[in-house]
């Protein structure tokens, strides 16, 4: 799919990226004003990865997500009001106030969950792929994770299982250059994280993670392979996290110039320049406005919702009856 020349696709891509950006800016603001509690991990600057990747998926496909997962949730089509309600600790939130930012998920759109453990979702994605494979289905699982996950045992075990059983899983590494404060230059001896794929006998490719088209092309290829029963692939999308790791981050480990240089590579501004020939200025403005309005409306709806109730706290520890 050409995300730059096809006007509908361009609009969808831009709207998704703006929605993620506006959602996270709003969350950042609410947090700064003391209106949101807990912690959260923002993906501002990384919007091209979920936007480009999820456009390669269709209904029935699954994703697993990360602690930095707002973008995956939105790109997969989750409701902004239920997401915002979750972050605002409301009963109407996706997790009824049990999950918060780090565990947010919309199961109805195939999101099997964000994860507070960096590689925790990787073997889970392999397992979802195993379920698809055993049922003879053609659904695909996209497993999102960061560069920090690639050195964890769960990552290696999960990728290996998917590889030996030819499971329909696409492993998407959002290489945003830092696992908390540990830079990829210090955490890896390999030049590109995609090289790790060779160790498992699967294809690995590195793409510009600030270009939704590049992400989309690579993930689409991997999705086609997976649907055709040819097994998993690894896509490394190189991008950058503008904000700190979480709310406690003082950014002591990276120079301001580096952050500035990457901000000039803003995936949204870049994409707007690229689609200037396809979308009118009014079209682009409409995408921005729609995203802003949708996020405002989500905040309004969420704020009006009742707070999560403690009287049912113990109810969802165990599932009842036939699941």
């Amino acid at each position: 799919m050409d995300l730059t020349k096809d006007a509908d696709a361009a609009r969808a891509t831009l709207r998704t990226m703006w929605t993620i950006r506006r959602f996270e800016e709003a969350v950042d603001d609410l947090f700064a004003r003391g209106l949101m509690h807990g912690t959260m991990h923002l993906s501002i600057g990384q919007e091209a990865v979920p936007a480009g990747a999820c456009l390669a998926l269709r209904e029935g496909d699954y994703i697993t997500s990360t602690h930095r997962g707002h973008g995956h949730c939105i790109a997969r089509g989750a409701r902004l009001d239920a997401m915002m309600a979750e972050l605002l600790a409301k009963e109407t939130g996706y997790c009824r106030g049990r999950g918060g930012s780090m565990h947010i998920a919309d199961v109805a759109t195939g999101n099997l969950g964000a994860n507070g453990i960096v590689a925790g979702g990787v073997p889970i994605a392999a397992g979802a792929g195993l379920a698809v494979s055993m049922r003879g289905g053609d659904e695909v699982v996209v497993s999102f994770f960061g560069d920090g996950a690639v050195n964890e045992g769960a990552w290696h075990e999960g990728v290996n299982l998917a590889a030996i059983w030819d499971l329909p899983v696409v492993f998407v590494c959002e290489n945003n250059h830092y696992g908390m404060s540990m830079s990829v230059g210090k955490a890896f001896k390999v030049e590109r994280l995609a090289e790790r794929a060779a160790a498992y006998g699967i294809p690995g490719v590195t793409v510009d993670g600030n270009d939704p088209q590049a992400v989309h092309d690579a993930v689409s290829d991997a999705v086609h392979r997976a649907r055709a029963g040819q097994g998993p692939s690894l896509v490394e999308a190189v991008t950058y996290r503008w904000k700190g790791h979480s709310k406690s981050d003082k950014n002591l480990y990276r120079p301001r110039e580096e952050i500035e240089a990457w901000r000039e590579q803003d995936p949204i501004a870049r994409f707007e320049r690229v689609v200037a020939a396809t979308l009118s200025e009014a079209d682009v403005a409409a995408c921005r406005d729609e995203a802003r309005d949708a996020v405002r409306e989500a905040i309004r709806v969420a704020n009006a919702a009742p707070d999560a109730r403690a009287d049912s706290l113990a109810d969802a520890v165990y599932a009842r009856g036939d699941a």
Partner: protein
Amino acid sequence: MTAVLPKHRTLTYSEAVREALAQAMEVDERVFLLGEDIGTYGGAFGVTGDLVHRFGERRVRDTPISELGIVGAAVGAALAGMRPVVEIQFSDFTAQAMDQIVNQAAKIHFMLGGAASVPMVLRAPGGSGTGAAAQHSQSLEAWFAHVPGLKVVMPSTAADAKGLLLAAIDDPNPVIVLEHKLLYKQSGPVPEEATRVRLGETTVRRTGGDLTIVATGVMVSRALQAAEQLAADGIEASVLDPRTLRPLDAAPIVDSVTATGRALLVQEAPRTGGFMAEVAATIVESSAFGHLRAPVARLCGLDVPIPYAPRLERAAVPQTEDIVRGARELVTAW
């Protein structure tokens, strides 16, 4: 009119587990097995036996040695609609898989506000007595029983090994089934039908009025042997087997201690932080407290890793004679 009794045959505990797996797989395509060497090898303890020939490699799935990946794959498959049953070769190796058990399987239903559940079973043999030493002999049930979201089962008979496993497979939650490697070859009557033993039901194995012995796993049979020896001396013990540690069915324990006034709690695991401390607290917090004629007593494994030498290994965990001695003291000293 004569009641129609379910047909029983004598099977080993190991055969009973295998029969449960086979019967669950026969009726539900979603059920499949996942683990190291469970296929042609038949399982490290021979439990899966010939199942791969009956159900194929797709459903009796040999895995590489990667416990974290195996359990994670089971979590994912369960989330996506399957009913995986994982075998971990020795319960000690669950340490390798703890993130997926504790942080993923146990918590996903809750963290998602009930929107998804993880109907999976993890079977693993625990316990000492085979000379396998410290990394292959532990009794880790307290680790799992401490985690909300997990259910924990310890079958002590062949019939329960089958019935509890079938119930665990039906359950929409992650269930840890801790089998005991010394019990695998023990035989007992097992119903032919796929009869479930409900999770969370303590059973009374023997009734006596002088004291209540609560025991789990292989300690149940030792407690019953001890009770026979005590009976010869005129001391009558009740022996209760919780079978499910979480959720614990405390009422029969409370009732029994209320009647006998004495409780001897027996576990193979080390004392400190062990499951019987929970049972002890449950008793003293209950209405049984006022009926106690003696302090609640625990007989536990020593706070040591399980050693290799047979004499040392035997000394590390309660034996039948220890239970006899402990019970006699409890009855005569108070």
